[in-house]
């Protein structure tokens, strides 16, 4: 326990201090400012979004409730109308193509780039009166001993301390704040995955032609099987306006057990004959590794205590259903719920865990909170080896038997694709980093 014990009872500097200007932190800050509260939002990146791995598919209903004009005014990339699920083997692939214009009306999911979305959200917060402080890394929370034990009263960064009635930990998947005050234990490896991802620039027309979409429509490809070289996890390709987000999410325990390096698996994915043609001619403009919590409800830590609530990834609010990684919509839902609970506690001047109970209640009454329960068992299911390896091959062998009418030797496509890919100006930055280093860098 490293939390600082503070005894003096200074007047708080703000009603609420929020640590982390990701989606969860911004939404909570915005909603609280709308209630007329004084809110400080602290972000360690020089600018919001600068530390956040770019985007993905956002299920946007919650966002639209906060910002009714979200789809028109926010920097959304494309509206997802095509979902493609692919079982990939070394030489074959089987896909389920689900295309439905109903998905666009009303819009259910959009692709976003965090480098654009986060600054937009932070701008909305500032317009609403939030004091945004970027380039500051919170080192620890300030605690005092209250009637019911330890309570959080503020934050410390460098030599400065600032106090608030309520602190919100919105500091992402590695939330050291939640760990510091004992709300979360260090997670076992099988609850964590590492995401390696890049954004590849391509002209809009090329994207539309390759992914079979038009206008502002977009596609979300989920891929399992050989693309991860048998490591538990999956890959994805999401279309943005002028780029493609492509990445893999790999279970850490399985990576370690199989002695694989995340970035190598990612390279394998990029050069896979199924994937490479979609990216050909593109240029990598962003590259990074990030942890993903994918333990579902089992990962969820304590989310409240006297003087503090935990939201978004920091609280373990992520869902990996196998076909989709969901975290951003849960971050929105928890930000909204936190604002409700904190608002009520400020109203009653009761900042204890009991006073903040409105957060928990609102969160689990929300559709997203309910989903957390529905999918409670998904992670265990995803740990089953067959998902990643055997199913795909099995189905492929069956189909091969049915469709293989000619036996002429084939050219080794993988090689061709690798050559094609290497020739393109794509340069994967940090090519030789290993997965563990990537994780440590976070």
């Amino acid at each position: 326990m490293t939390a600082l014990e503070v005894s003096n009872k200074a007047e708080p500097d703000f009603d609420v201090i929020i640590v982390g200007a990701g989606i969860a932190g911004c939404i909570a800050a915005y909603q609280l400012a709308q209630q007329g509260r004084s809110v400080l939002l602290i972000e360690r990146g020089e600018a919001p979004g600068s530390k956040n791995l770019s985007g993905g598919v956002l299920y946007c209903r919650g966002m639209q409730e906060v910002f009714p004009d979200f789809l028109d005014s926010a920097p959304v990339e494309r509206r997802v109308t095509r979902n493609y699920i692919n079982f990939l083997n070394a030489e074959s692939s089987i896909g389920i193509d689900y295309k439905d214009t109903r998905l666009a009306d009303p819009v259910n999911a959009v692709t976003v780039l965090r480098a654009k979305l986060d600054p937009w959200l932070a701008g909305k917060c500032e317009e609403a009166g939030v004091f945004l402080m970027s380039g500051v890394r919170v080192d620890r929370v300030l605690t005092e001993n209250g009637a019911t034990g330890k309570r959080v009263v503020g934050v410390k960064a460098g030599d400065d301390e600032l106090r608030a009635h309520v602190v919100v930990a919105a500091d992402g998947v590695n939330s050291f704040i939640a760990q510091e005050v004992g709300l979360r234990a260090k997670q076992p490896l099988n609850h964590l995955a590492t995401g390696v991802k890049c954004v590849v620039n391509l002209p809009a027309e090329t994207i539309e032609a390759r992914f079979g979409v038009t206008g502002d429509e977009g596609a979300a490809f989920a891929v399992v099987g050989d693309c991860t070289e048998g490591v538990g996890g999956g890959g994805f390709m999401y279309t943005n306006t002028n780029s493609i987000s492509v990445g893999v999410v790999l279970r850490l325990d399985d990576l370690t057990a199989k002695r694989k390096v995340a970035t190598d698996v990612f390279d394998h994915f990029l050069t896979h004959p199924f994937i490479a043609p979609y990216l050909e001619g593109g240029e990598v403009i962003e590259y990074g590794c990030h942890m993903v919590a994918e333990g579902g409800l089992g990962m969820l830590g304590e989310i409240d205590m006297d003087g503090m609530v935990v939201v978004g990834d920091a609280a373990g609010l992520t869902l990996n259903t196998g076909l989709t990684v969901r975290g951003m919509d849960l971050a929105v839902a928890s930000g909204v719920a936190a604002a409700v609970g904190i608002g009520a506690s400020l109203e009653r001047k009761d900042f204890s865990k009991a006073g903040l109970a409105g957060y928990r209640e609102t969160l689990f009454a929300s559709p997203e909170g309910k989903d957390m329960k529905t999918y409670a068992k998904a992670p265990a299911f995803l740990e089953v080896e067959r998902m990643y390896k055997d199913y795909g091959e099995l189905i492929a062998n069956v189909l091969y038997g049915a469709f293989n009418l000619d036996t002429k030797p084939r050219e080794h496509l993988a090689k061709v694709a690798i050559r094609a890919f290497k020739k393109s100006p794509v340069k994967v930055r940090h090519l030789i980093s290993d997965g563990i280093a990537g994780v440590r860098a976070l």
């Binding site: 930055r429 940090h430 090519l431 030789i432 980093s433 290993d434 280093a437 990537g438 860098a441």
Partner: protein
């Protein structure tokens, strides 16, 4: 080119490149020279048509003549070339301001097409290049080059001495320290070190490697400015030296753009860095991820 071509000289006669460039534009080349008579004579003999000299500067620094230089050039404005050294930039800046002339830096080529100047230059620390055509007065900053050799054809330039009103500046103290000058540009191999080096005492280890590989030692900017471990003329990059050796060893250098732009001409780049994500590896031929303190001595041994 029928418009006037000026070069400004701020005390240092190492302006051979300016004279060559000015000459290549084909017009009347005038030099506005601040500094001693010796400097003015050197420039005059170096191939310009006319020198305007402001007299012996006495205790006034060259910068004190900035307004005077602008006054002179304003009378016949045109293309004005200046070296990228600190004092030269001050004179050129004053001239550019007086002429409201745009400033172009880092040119790779300067030529004339009729009365327009065509400049190809590197922009934004070398991430891109642009070619511009300019009509009207313009200031161009370029590498000064060597001291010009006296024009063998003889016929020294017309020398005009003007008396100048100087700005209120006086040199009250000058301290010089000895340093060993090197010509990094001529070295076939260069060992470049960066902030990965922990203490100035560790330079001995680097010098041993340099000796074994017959290289010159260079560095990143922070080691020369800030840490002062090496002299400023040994740092490489956008604001330092540009080199193109056969081999460049980048040791404990993160490889940021502003440094790498100075070594992009190297035939082979070897990078030694403990951070596997270091940018330098994206621009290296041989990548050694590890502690320089164990790799450098081993490499020195292997080379002996």
């Amino acid at each position: 080119m029928s418009i006037n071509i000026w070069i400004v000289v701020a005390g240092d006669p190492a302006v051979g490149n300016l004279i060559d460039t000015a000459r290549s534009l084909g017009g009347q080349v005038c030099a506005a020279v601040v500094g001693s008579r010796v400097v003015a004579d050197t420039v005059a003999a170096g191939g310009v048509d006319k020198v305007v000299w402001f007299g012996e500067p006495g205790k006034a620094p060259v910068e004190a003549f900035a307004t005077a230089a602008a006054d002179v050039i304003e009378a016949t404005p045109g293309v004005v070339l200046g070296a990228s050294r600190a004092s030269d930039r001050v004179l050129l800046g004053a001239v550019a301001a007086r002429l409201q002339a745009p400033v172009l830096t880092a040119p790779s080529s300067v030529s004339a097409e009729g009365d327009t100047l065509v400049v190809t230059r590197s922009i934004f620390s070398g991430i891109a290049e642009e070619t511009v055509t300019v009509s009207g007065p313009v200031a161009v900053v370029l590498d000064g080059g060597p001291i010009p050799v006296a024009n063998p054809a003889g016929g020294s330039a017309l020398m005009e001495e003007v008396s100048a009103v100087t700005l209120g500046m006086t040199v009250v103290e000058t301290h010089s320290s000895d340093f060993e000058q090197v010509d990094l540009g001529a070295a076939p191999r260069v060992v470049g070190i960066g902030r990965g080096l922990k203490a100035p005492g560790d330079l001995a280890m680097i010098e041993a490697l340099a000796k074994a590989s017959r290289s010159e030692v260079a560095c990143s900017r922070p080691l020369a400015e800030g840490l002062d471990w090496l002299h400023k003329d040994r740092y490489i990059g956008v604001s330092g030296q540009h080199i193109a050796p056969e081999v460049y060893f980048a040791i404990g250098i993160s490889g940021q753009l502003q440094h790498m732009v100075g070594v992009r001409g190297a035939t082979t780049i070897v990078a030694i860095n403990s951070d596997p994500n270091a940018l330098v590896f994206t621009e290296a031929d041989y990548c050694l991820v590890g502690d320089l303190y164990s790799i450098v001595p081993a490499l020195t041994d292997a080379l002996r």
